[in-house]
């Protein structure tokens, strides 16, 4: 594309003095929290709040990207649409949370700076979201665990002292309920299906399970945010009830495998990631880094 044609496109996409801005969706992104009052309430540690929003934002950002990799690869069109919808919801949550982090920490960084310009060790997501799915069953096993956990977390965050976080959570709860129940129905269908689907569903949970314990480790950032962020360990019993119910209905066994160890008590939340993370990050960041002045 010639430069002038490219300029034409850019001008066309941004024109607000005609109706031409309707020519395509998503051709420009603004601040996900534009127009939202983002002042940090009195008595809340702004740096800890920013760190916490990064954790939750990174969880959603990376899993969203892994789910997007199913687009054009899902077994049926309806499932592909479902997975893409879930990825879109999570991306929306990530955008708001990253924007919240950039405002709370005082740096003014926007979502793109967080998503595309941080190194792996600066990401604060749990390691559960990192690996590439080996098959459809692995996608479902992880989605069930993740959405059951995140739903419990967001449900608790609805009463957060930070009004922005509580508003993001209240929206997210409605979305995550759909995600969890979608995954749960598929797990039951495959677990209680044929011998082959049962075997693969069980194998998928064996693969995912070592990463479950980490979801419930109390983090010092949560401790610094009383009444703002729930202690992750308090979510365990609620999530266990859901997972055990689904596994039992699906005639699957709850895996008994040791958790993936941290290194010197560091985990995903502390910037320690698995090998798979480098690959997903490279894919996600390469276009932005190759074309530093690009807009979309």
């Amino acid at each position: 594309m010639s430069d002038s044609l490219e300029d034409d496109f850019a001008a066309h996409a941004l024109a607000e003095d005609t109706e031409d801005h309707r020519w395509a969706f998503g051709t420009g992104f603004t601040d996900a929290l534009e127009g939202v009052d983002t002042r940090v309430p009195d008595g809340v540690d702004a740096q800890a709040l920013a760190a916490y929003c990064l954790m939750l934002g990174d969880d959603a950002l990376i899993l969203s990207h892994r789910l997007q990799q199913w687009v054009t690869r899902a077994p049926e069109l309806e499932e592909e649409t479902a997975i893409a919808n879930i990825a879109l919801d999570l991306l929306g949550q990530a955008r708001m949370l990253l924007a919240r982090a950039g405002k709370a920490d005082g740096t003014g960084r926007d979502e793109d700076q967080f998503a595309f310009w941080r190194e792996a060790k600066e990401f604060r997501n749990v390691r559960l979201v990192e690996r590439a799915d080996g098959d459809f069953a692995e996608m479902l096993a992880r989605l069930l665990v993740f959405s059951a956990w995140r739903l419990a977390q967001f449900d608790a965050l609805r009463s957060s002292k930070d009004p922005v976080l509580s508003a993001i959570a209240a929206k997210g709860v409605k979305e995550l309920t759909y995600h969890r129940d979608y995954a749960a129905r598929w797990v039951v269908r495959l677990g209680d299906g044929t011998a082959e689907s049962h075997r693969r569903m069980q194998a998928a949970f064996q693969t995912v399970w070592p990463l479950v314990d980490e979801l419930f480790l109390t983090h010092r950032v949560e401790a610094a945010l009383p009444q703002v962020a729930p202690d992750a360990s308090t979510l365990r019993s609620e999530v266990d009830v859901i997972l055990d119910t689904v596994l039992a209905t699906a005639t699957l066994d709850r895996p008994e495998v040791p958790p993936l160890a941290g290194v010197g008590s560091r985990y995903g939340r502390d910037g320690l990631h698995t090998e798979a993370f480098g690959y997903v990050l490279a894919e996600m960041q390469s276009v932005a880094r190759a074309h530093t002045d690009a807009t979309w």
Binding site: E16, H21, G26, G28, G35, L88, D155, D181
Partner: protein
């Protein structure tokens, strides 16, 4: 809430957004069509929350249906463009996230228009009881009439559809697939 000049077809008025003297900023903002569901207006969809008017200065408050709604920027630009075209010089569009949008905010007129366009309008969402959110392992049995033939003999194909706010259904009598506006 919505008065007078409602756009009754799916066509988007071009250049016709000229305000009459009596027209308020609310009137102009209220008839802006949703970009993804152009048969209904922002007011009918319940995402237009408030319009504050102070002379030529107008502040519009909108809310997204879903966190990842990709149309927020287009909606913001539409509002600015149409309000400016209607003579309001100073337009600010703000987003409010709380309380979260509910499909029960779609107006009666909006529901009728969705139905006429082949999209089944949402049932009332269930109310939370304050406890943990119940797990629903069966496809929810909703009482949804086929917008094409009126039969109540319908079933869900997928809880997710072509946009974040819709699910896929099919009618077991006329055999046509149709969309259902999710109840959230």
């Amino acid at each position: 809430m919505v008065t007078g000049n409602i756009v009754t077809s799916a066509t988007v008025p071009t250049g016709g957004a000229v305000a009459t003297e009596a027209e308020t900023a609310w009137d102009v903002a209220a008839r802006v069509p949703d970009p993804e569901l152009p048969m209904v207006t922002l007011a009918e969809l319940g995402i237009l929350r408030e319009v504050k008017q102070d002379g030529q200065a107008v502040t519009v408050v909108i809310t997204p249906t879903y966190s990842g709604c990709p149309a927020m920027l287009e909606i913001t630009r539409d509002l600015r463009y149409r309000l400016r075209a209607a003579g309001f010089g100073d337009v600010t569009v703000r987003t409010e996230l709380s309380p979260p949008w509910s499909s029960s905010w779609i107006t009666r007129r909006g529901r009728e228009k969705l139905s006429s366009a082949g999209i089944a309008p949402p049932n009332m969402p269930g109310r939370g009881n304050g406890g943990p959110i119940p797990l629903i392992l069966r496809l929810p049995a909703r009482d949804i009439a086929c917008p094409l033939c009126g039969s109540g003999h319908t079933e869900e194909i997928s809880p997710f559809g072509a946009t974040a706010c819709k699910a896929l259904y099919r009618c077991r009598d006329c055999a046509e697939p149709f969309e259902y506006m999710k109840d959230i």
